[in-house]
Structures are given as structure tokens and as C-alpha cells.
């Protein structure tokens, strides 16, 4: 099951560059939440704060609180544990080229260990099915490298890899921006399916995509969360003038 995320007073820096300012947001469980905004406004930085990837950059710094189902990710959990509960899919598909498709999906499972090979295969098959990739790879998944797939398939492989360790939240940072329209619509369909079991946070600069997949939408501008509301509200009747300017294409 998915879990809700509660962010309070979140600030983030790269060096002396103050990137995120006092972000507060309640991301509901088992829904898709879209984050939109012009590029460079801090969307990626924000999602990377949610699974504590931001701090892996040596010059990066964070303050504030992020709670997952009531537990503070920064004070009560190790980063490694956080990332096992909050999975991430990146903008560019990044399968491990030296591993087979199966090994790619199993890579997260191998970290925790303790699984028999049979169990591992079952979980990987299930994850590949959930990522709508199984039919395309079922004959080659033990033989072919993860990098031998097409871009769209690679991205679904990365989704399967993230799902295999059964996280509660799935962060997707512009998961379809490097893909063709058909692959993009496959990923969007997938997000619809996955909502039942996961909380989804998707960064996109494609507003139609946000409108199609997400119940809630947040608009970022220059490191501030300008507005966060139901997607229909944001796109039809935004409360803030800047949101309206953005969605009507007056800037960005």
C-alpha cells in the first residue's frame, strides 16, 4: 500500500545557492501527484529531497522535515532505509548494462539478500508484469542485457526494478521526457495502474500529462511551491495569478 508524505518547511541548497524555500505539502496516499513548473525551478531537487538523494551530492544541504506515514525520514531513518521505501525513476532510463534484464530487476532484491532464486524470479516476473514489460521480454529476460532494450522498454525496466523492492512511494522525475509518444502513453497508462498500490509523485513539464494522470498538482516557481491543489482546480481555476500565467503559456 502507498503511504502519504507530509513535507514541512523544507529548504534545500546546492552550495550557497538556496534552491528550495520553505516547501510545505501533503502528498496523499495512493494517488498520483504531479509537480509542474518551468525548468530550473527546483522540481528535481524537491523529489530528490523526498528519498534523501539530494544529500548524496557533496555540496548539497537540506533542512526541514519530511514524514512518511508519520515517521520523519531525516531524523528517524537511515538514508538507505528511506530509499527502500521510496523508489525512484529517473529522467533518462538508467538500466545496468552489465546485467541481464532479470538481474536488473533483481538488483534491489539482492541488496537485502535472503531470497531463494525461485522467489526472486517470481518477484521479478511480477514486477515486469506490473511494469507492462513482461510480454515483450519473457523469452529473453535471462539472456539479454538491460541495455539492449529500446528507450521506452528501458524506462519500464527501470520502473520494474523500482517496484521489485516493493516501495510505498514511487518518485518519477520526468520519466517520459526522453521517450517517443507511444512509449510515453504506455508509461502514463502504467501510472494509472500503479496508483492502486503506490503513492506516485511525478515531475513533468508536460501539462497535458499532468492533467491526464494526476489527481493533485503542485506548481513550483523559483524554488517556491506557488500552489498545490486538485489537478482540475489548478488547470481550470487556479488561485494564483502566476499559476494561471504558467498554464496558459504566458511564460516558461
Amino acid at each position: 500500500m502507498g503511504a502519504a508524505i507530509e513535507v514541512n518547511n523544507l529548504n534545500a541548497w546546492y552550495g550557497s545557492n538556496h534552491i528550495l524555500h520553505n516547501i510545505g505539502i501533503s502528498i496523499p496516499a495512493n494517488q498520483a501527484t504531479a509537480l509542474i513548473g518551468p525548468s530550473g525551478c527546483g522540481k528535481s531537487t524537491f523529489v530528490r529531497c523526498l528519498n534523501r538523494m539530494h544529500e548524496t551530492n557533496p555540496i548539497a544541504r537540506v533542512s526541514g522535515s519530511v514524514r512518511l506515514g508519520g515517521i520523519d525520514l531525516y531524523s528517524d531513518m537511515e538514508p538507505v532505509a528511506v530509499r527502500r521505501r521510496i523508489g525512484m525513476v529517473f529522467q533518462r532510463p538508467n538500466p545496468f548494462p552489465t546485467m541481464s534484464i532479470f538481474e536488473n530487476v533483481a538488483s534491489g532484491l539482492r541488496l537485502s539478500g535472503g531470497l531463494r532464486r525461485r522467489q526472486m524470479e517470481e518477484i521479478c516476473e511480477r514486477s515486469l508484469r506490473r511494469a507492462a514489460l513482461w510480454d515483450e521480454v519473457k523469452d529473453i529476460w535471462k539472456k539479454r542485457s538491460g541495455a539492449s532494450l529500446s528507450g521506452g522498454q528501458q524506462q519500464r525496466l527501470c520502473i520494474a526494478r523500482a517496484l521489485a523492492i516493493d516501495p510505498e512511494v514511487l518518485l518519477m522525475d520526468e520519466p517520459a521526457s526522453a521517450l517517443d509518444p507511444i512509449s510515453t502513453s504506455k508509461i502514463e497508462d502504467l501510472i494509472f495502474e500503479l496508483k492502486a498500490d503506490y503513492t506516485i509523485v511525478i515531475v513533468t513539464h508536460n501539462m497535458q500529462q499532468a492533467a491526464r494522470v494526476a489527481e493533485m498538482t503542485g506548481f513550483f516557481l523559483n524554488g517556491y511551491l506557488v500552489e498545490f491543489d486538485a489537478t482540475t482546480k489548478i488547470f481550470t481555476n487556479p488561485a494564483d495569478k502566476r499559476t494561471e500565467d504558467y498554464i496558459t503559456g504566458r511564460f516558461g
Partner: protein, 329 residues
């Protein structure tokens, strides 16, 4: 904007020249072609030089080749006085010392490269790498001296204790006099470690951040990221560094001849003295009297060339099987 050519049927196009295939001179003038020719000449000259080299080795070893045939490779007598020449002790010594050197150097070199690329702060890493790369520039005769004055006394001091426990293993048995396959291998290992470290560090550093983050986002620790993603991703380059080290070890002459003992014999024990191809050529070439002796030494050169080629070819094959990435589980 380009000119738009409107043609009426039957009328010749105004600039037919544009559609004609360009002559070589025209293409040459455009530069691309010149670069192409230059690089091609470079490529061919390498092949030409290699060909000439093999040709000369072949021609000037003919007396020995006719006299001994294939037996040259497998016989162990090296007796210039009676005109008997067999290459086996040298081939054996070359291969054994080089492989043992790699066995010692790979874990040390790879470990150091991982430390420098993944763990050490960048400033420390750069400073240490600079020092290590300086080591690669030290003349090999200096390594030979280090072998004689530091390594051999040290080994001689610890060997009795070591042999008390491991002397029963054939490769560690027998009296240790200092000069030996083992001493030569250790010196070779010290000499090739810098190659492994500096190249492997470069390829480790070049692993894309996206690969690291992919593993990190699955909840991997730093060590797991390094070991499961970074090192496998860089394995081709790491292997490349090992092959370079191997090539260096196979051909190393001066440092080896100073510590291996220069005895043309074949011993199972690494504690025994031996000889290598490069060392014997260097030592005996100037005093080779008679054509047969000279031709035997040149045939040794041919053999070294062949050994290097074969080992490199095997290495390439290994690398190719890795590169195709058809991972078998």
C-alpha cells in the same frame, strides 16, 4: 539562402558540376580527405613496421630455426659452447614471472584505484595519483636496485619463517637464495601497479553518475554501489589496464635480470632462480659468437613476440566475450 534552380525539360542544368562525382583532387582540397589520408597512412605505417619487424626476426633466426625446428621451444638446454639451444626455461620464466606479478598487482592496483576514485576526497586522490604516476616514470634499473638492496634482503629475512609454514607446498619449497622467480615477480608487480591504478581510477571516475544513482535509489550502501555497479560498468577499462600491465611485465628486461638470478633452468619452486626471454637476449647478445648463437637469440625475440601476441589475443577474446554483454545467468 541557396539558389533555386528551375529547370525546363531538355535544357541542361546550369551547374552540372554540382552533380558530378568529385575528383580526388577536389575532395583533397576540402580537408576531410586529407585527414583521412593522413590517418590512413599512420595506420598503415604501424602495420608496415610490425611486418618488417617480424620479417627481420624471421630471416635472422633462420639458422637456429633450421637446426632445431619446433624442438627449440620445448628443450631446456642452453649451451652456447656446444651449440645447443632450447628456449623453454626462458619462455617459462617469462610467463611465470609475468602472471605471478599480475596476481600480486591486480588486487593491490584495483584496491588502490577504488580507494582513489570512490573513497578518497578528490584533492587527496589527485595528489596520490600524481605520485603513483611518477612511479611509472622511474627507470627500470632503479627498480632493479630497489630489488637488490631492499626487496631481496627483506624477503631473505622473512622467508625462513614463511617456509616453515608453507614450505611443503611445491611452489614455495627449496632453499631461498634471494634471486628468484618470486623476487622478480614482486619487483614486476611493483612496476606495473601504477598502470593498473592510474588507468582503472580514470575509468572508475568516468562511470556515469546516473549508474551510481540508479543503484543508490534502490537502497544500496556506498560500498554496494561501488561493487555492484561502478566496478562492473568499468570492467572493460579495468581489464585494459591489466593487459597493459601484462605487456609491460612480459617485456621488462633490466629490473628482472637484476633479481631473477639468470639461470637457464625450469623449476616448479618460485623460490628458485630462473631467467626470462628479454633478460637473456639483453645479457648475451653482445657476446654471442657464431651465427647459430646469434640466430638462436633472435629466434628468442621471435618467440617473445609470439608469446606477447598470443597472450594479448587471448586477452582480447576475453574482453570481447565480456563486451557483447549477452549476460548468462
Amino acid at each position: 539562402m541557396g539558389n533555386v534552380v528551375i529547370s525546363t525539360p531538355g535544357m541542361p542544368l546550369p551547374s552540372e558540376k554540382l552533380f558530378r562525382k568529385q575528383t580526388l583532387v577536389e575532395r583533397l582540397r576540402k580537408g576531410d580527405e586529407a585527414v583521412h589520408l593522413l590517418t590512413m597512412a599512420g595506420g598503415w605505417s604501424i602495420i608496415l613496421i610490425t611486418g618488417l619487424l617480424v620479417h627481420h626476426l624471421w630471416v635472422y633466426s633462420r639458422i637456429a630455426r633450421h637446426q632445431f625446428g619446433w624442438h627449440f621451444l620445448v628443450t631446456s638446454t642452453w649451451d652456447p659452447v656446444n651449440g645447443l639451444f632450447g628456449a623453454w626455461p626462458f619462455v617459462y620464466g617469462t610467463v611465470v614471472t609475468s602472471l605471478l606479478a599480475l596476481i600480486i598487482a591486480i588486487p593491490i592496483g584495483l584496491g588502490a584505484a577504488i580507494f582513489l576514485a570512490e573513497l578518497a576526497p578528490r584533492s587527496v586522490s589527485n595528489a596520490l595519483t600524481f605520485l603513483i604516476e611518477l612511479l611509472a616514470a622511474v627507470p627500470s634499473v632503479v627498480y632493479g636496485l630497489i630489488g637488490i638492496f631492499l626487496l631481496i634482503p627483506a624477503l631473505t629475512a622473512i622467508m625462513p619463517t614463511f617456509q616453515k609454514f608453507f614450505g611443503w607446498i611445491p611452489i614455495f619449497s627449496g632453499t631461498f637464495y634471494g634471486v628468484s622467480y618470486f623476487s622478480a615477480s614482486v619487483i614486476l608487480a611493483i612496476m606495473v601497479v601504477p598502470f593498473i591504478v592510474s588507468i582503472s581510477r580514470e575509468v572508475l571516475l568516468a562511470v556515469p553518475i546516473a549508474q551510481r544513482e540508479a543503484m543508490m535509489a534502490l537502497g544500496a550502501t556506498k560500498w554496494e554501489v561501488t561493487w555492484r555497479t561502478v566496478v562492473p560498468y568499468a570492467r572493460q577499462g579495468i581489464m585494459g589496464s591489466v593487459f597493459l600491465a601484462l605487456a609491460r611485465a612480459l617485456g621488462e628486461t633490466m629490473a628482472v635480470t637484476m633479481v631473477i638470478g639468470n639461470v637457464a633452468q625450469v623449476s616448479t619452486s618460485l623460490m628458485a632462480p630462473g631467467y626470462t626471454i628479454a633478460a637473456v637476449i639483453a645479457n648475451e647478445f653482445t657476446e654471442a659468437t657464431g651465427d647459430l648463437y646469434l640466430h638462436a637469440l633472435i629466434e628468442l625475440g621471435l618467440v617473445l613476440f609470439a608469446v606477447t601476441m598470443i597472450i594479448n589475443a587471448l586477452a582480447r577474446l576475453l574482453m570481447l566475450s565480456v563486451r557483447t554483454g549477452e549476460v548468462v545467468s
